[in-house]
Symmetry: C7
Subunit: 97 residues, 7 copies
């Protein structure tokens, strides 16, 4: 039942990152301070075509950590895991340490 999804067009499959609700030292964090709507890119589509038929590559790549919009995206369940599909132009940016 667990399948691999290859997104179409400029869609991006993202696994959301659930932030830890306590610090490493075990102190409980207030909910607000930990909320960053981010995810890891699991798969990307081939991109959409521009007006002249050329493929525009997707703006993120597999493995990227991305900042996601608060709303939108399509929930997808593959095997046990929950993912979200976004159009690449809905993804806000990439996150780096």
């Amino acid at each position: 039942m667990a399948k691999r999804l290859v997104p179409l067009l400029n869609r991006v499959l993202v696994e959301k990152i659930v932030p830890p609700s306590k610090t490493n030292a075990g102190i409980l964090l207030p909910e607000k301070s930990t909320k960053l709507n981010s995810g890891r890119v699991t798969a990307v589509g081939p991109g959409i075509r521009d007006k002249e038929g050329k493929i525009i590559p997707v703006a993120v790549k597999e493995g990227d950590t991305v900042l996601l919009p608060e709303y939108g995206g399509t929930e997808v369940k593959l095997g046990d895991k929950e993912y979200h599909l976004f159009r690449d132009d809905d993804i806000l940016g990439t996150l780096h340490d």
Copy 2:
């Protein structure tokens, strides 16, 4: 009365896959865990034209297993069987084992 449908433009005829509600071993599965809105592509149109009149081929092909959006698509009954028609850019991705 059973006819064969050839979709127009970038439309895709899909037969939805009804997930088994119990495992092979006969254990009833809770409804949530089995829900994956997928289907098998039965027929595809020739594609739509871009601004310069060139045909953009449809992004999926006959026999593909596809992930479908939760809403949308047009129900079509051909003979005894129920199908759904989608525009290829509404199909979320292809599913692979």
Copy 3:
């Protein structure tokens, strides 16, 4: 009063096919199983122009049996007969035996 209509642009004149409500053998069919929203193409327009002024031919031709969308189309009465006008990109596909 009965006139011939030549559709403009990419419009398609369709005569809806009323499905028989009993089989050839005279058995009454349950309403659901016979419902297929189809029609026969009676006349087609010359097509619309693309961005560069070239005519895009209409996707169906006179005599085609077509699958129609559930809603839309303009009812037209010519002489005794009722027809419907559709834009060719609203027609879902062609039906073949």
Copy 4:
């Protein structure tokens, strides 16, 4: 006060045809059977420009009998007579005997 109107762009000036409510033999016709929303083209504009600035000629010409959409069009009174203005792409087709 009666003036001649030269439509702009792709507008078409149409004089609606009021169908006779009895046959030549004087038999009253039921209202439904005579209703065909048609008109005679009185004047047409020069056409609109495509993306490259070239004029697209209007799809109907003076003297054509046309099938009109049920809604839309702008009522215009010139002298004693009532006319309607339509964009040529709202006109459904031309009618021929």
Copy 5:
């Protein structure tokens, strides 16, 4: 305080023509028969640019008598006089004796 207005883009400055409410012979006209929403063009803009940057000249010129849409247009007061500004593609046609 009375200023001259030079419209921008494809805007057209129009002075509405108030139809006489009696004939030259002094007979009062019923309100309906005189109503024609027309005006005299007082000034026109330079036109808008098409997709390739070329100016599309405005479809009417100073001095034209034009048929106006029933709604729309922006009321402008210059000195004592009231004018209306329209986009040239909202003007329905030109009127000629």
Copy 6:
């Protein structure tokens, strides 16, 4: 705290002209007759790009007196003064004595 604003794209910074509510001779003017929604252009952006990437210059220039639409525009306070930002295609025309 008083800063100079350089508008982006085709935006135009306008200082509204408050019409005098009495004539030079001191006679109070009825409110309606003085109302002309005009302003002085204080700064203009570099313009937006057309489909081919070329900059379209802004249709008004610094120092122009302009006729403004009744609604729209963004209020901006710079130092003590109030200004409004408009897209150049929302400005109705230029005013000249």
Copy 7:
């Protein structure tokens, strides 16, 4: 947990400037007079592509002080700090002393 965000497309990361609520001399300012919705640009995306696939550079750059629209933008929390993401064409202008 504090990450660096690289915006995608034509997005701009902005840190809002909170105006002082008293003057240097310690006099409390009435709320209205200090309100200027400005921010400092912290990071910009690579820009979006035009119809021919060429990248249009973002209209502002890191370090610019910008005037922001009253509504819109996406709140983003990175580490302890709050930022806002805007599309570059929503930013009204740049502010200079």
